[in-house]
């Protein structure tokens, strides 16, 4: 196990060490410096790209979360063949190779662009649409289990007590599936931030994200400030993951408590209602 972890983290550690290294060559350690970080933050080309990546990630994960939650609700209420069909369709973007997804999206965009007579259709909008489309699957797969775990009687109770279906969703169901929605949103944010292959095929010169630019950088000899960038991103993603983990831990604790006491807050409320 420790060997596996070493194997997984060795390249990451090397990149982080390289970000503090004075020598431009990774293989030669010569001294400790923050120079790469100052170079990174003074770089007027890289930082806006990080901004671009963050914008796409935030927007696409937000839209995908709303759409995905609605889709999950829809799939949840389906039965039989239709449901398994919907699940299969949801799984396709996950099982399909990234490169195929990217290529086919690019072809669709160019085709539609030609039909609408738009030149240079590839840009921010296409990138956003592409990211939403692959994030949707992650959101649906994060929300759906929470819906199936949920007590079906809750919705019925809310409806019996005079809620409209919409109210029942926002007042009851929403809070029950919130952990799923949050983890879906965070997951799709991380996926979108890190995605290279799909972005690579659908980006236009007017709007470039960071992973794509890193790829363009790696064609030339690499400037060490990229290592500094990697370290900053690593710290950011570590933070997101730890946050997600703590959320999950709280969620697990809550369900365990409910099971343990058998007479949770919710149970008490129900008894009062009854």
């Amino acid at each position: 196990m420790i060997l596996v972890l070493i194997f997984l983290y060795l390249p990451i550690v090397i990149l982080i060490v390289a970000s503090f290294n004075t020598s431009a060559d990774i293989a030669r350690l010569s001294g400790f410096t923050f120079a790469q970080y100052t170079a990174l933050f003074q770089d007027s080309a890289l930082l806006p790209l990080l901004g671009n990546s963050l914008i796409v990630a935030a927007l696409s994960s937000l839209i995908a979360t709303v759409m995905g939650t609605m889709a999950a609700l829809g799939i949840y209420s389906m039965r039989g063949k239709l449901r398994s069909l919907a699940l299969t369709v949801t799984n396709i973007p996950l099982t399909n190779p990234d490169i195929v997804t990217g290529v086919s999206l690019a072809l669709v965009f160019v085709f539609v662009g030609r039909a609408l007579r738009i030149n240079n259709v590839l840009g921010f909008t296409t990138l956003l649409i592409a990211h939403i489309s692959f994030n949707l699957s992650y959101v649906i797969l994060a929300v759906l289990p929470k819906l199936t775990q949920m007590d079906k009687n809750l919705r019925d109770a809310a409806l019996d007590l005079g809620c409209t279906p919409l109210q029942a969703f926002f007042k009851v169901i929403f809070f029950e599936i919130l952990p799923g929605i949050i983890s879906g949103a965070l997951l799709s944010f991380a996926m979108s931030l890190d995605d290279f292959v799909i972005s690579y095929f659908v980006y236009g010169p007017s709007f470039v994200t960071l992973p794509v630019e890193i790829y363009n950088y790696t064609k030339k000899p690499l400037h060490p400030k990229i290592y500094a960038l990697f370290t900053v991103l690593f710290a950011a993603i570590l933070l997101i993951m730890v946050l997600m983990n703590i959320l999950e831990a709280l969620d697990a604790k809550r369900t365990r408590n409910i099971r343990k006491t058998g007479n949770s807050e919710r149970g008490v409320k129900f008894e009062k209602i009854l």
């Binding site: 596996v4 997984l8 390249p11 990451i12 293989a27 086919s104 290279f196 890193i214 990697f230």
Partner: protein, 218 residues
């Protein structure tokens, strides 16, 4: 193309051999430790695979870290890069978490009483493993193999950085057709072919496992 499938299959099985004990170990821990180790496994997956692959290049290069360390010990530099082994290493490194995740979720859900029952009925620990644990974890193995095989067969960056001209994979060809050769028709045809191969593999793996559909979890 045969080379893509061959290398991807080898990588998938290497992942299985490394990933199974790791997933087994994680599943045997307390829930709290499980959660943190799981995080540690997931974390590298979220980092830019471009830079991680590049880091391997600097490790394996002829003048890289490993060879310069070996040089200090008086050993001749080894040919570590630009061969099939390096490509497999890169693929295994990048996609190992995809193998560990489904294996872990299957092993974790396994009813521990089954293992105790098997031991009570006179199985040796090895027999418990081969007769109970292994058959029960087949869905996890299958979905892990799929999840490694699919991205591995279509990768285009890893093979370009770690491989030689002899290890051009399908993903490389598709990328070249679209981005430098300006022949999207051939690229699209190859993509379609790739998709058919992948769907066929998934179909095959489904045949062997039965209930796989709900198993693709994140």
């Amino acid at each position: 193309m045969a080379k893509s499938i061959y290398l991807a299959l080898i990588s998938a099985f290497v992942c299985l051999i490394i990933g199974y004990p790791a997933a087994y170990y994680i599943a045997s821990l307390s829930p709290k430790a499980q959660r943190w180790l799981y995080l540690l496994i997931m974390l590298p997956m979220c980092m830019s695979f471009l830079l991680k692959t590049l880091s391997w290049v600097s490790l394996l290069e002829d003048t890289g870290i490993i060879n310069s360390l070996l040089g200090k010990l008086g050993i001749e530099p080894l040919p570590l890069i630009r061969n099939n082994g390096a490509v497999v290493l890169g693929i295994v490194y990048n996609f190992l978490p995809y193998m560990i995740m489904p294996l872990f979720s299957v092993l974790e859900k396994m009813d521990k009483r089954l293992l105790e029952a098997a031991a009570d009925l006179g199985c040796s620990p090895l027999q418990v493993f081969t007769k109970v644990i292994l058959p029960l974890s087949v869905p996890g193995i299958v979905s892990g193999l799929t999840m490694v095989f699919v991205p591995a067969v279509s990768t285009f960056y890893i093979s370009r950085k770690l491989g030689s001209p002899g290890t051009v994979l399908m993903g490389d060809v598709i990328e070249t057709q679209f981005k430098t050769a300006y022949n999207p028709n051939l690229g699209a045809a190859l993509s379609l072919l790739l998709m058919v191969i992948v769907l066929f593999c998934i179909f095959l793996m489904n045949k062997f496992s039965g209930s796989y559909k709900e198993e693709v979890t994140i």
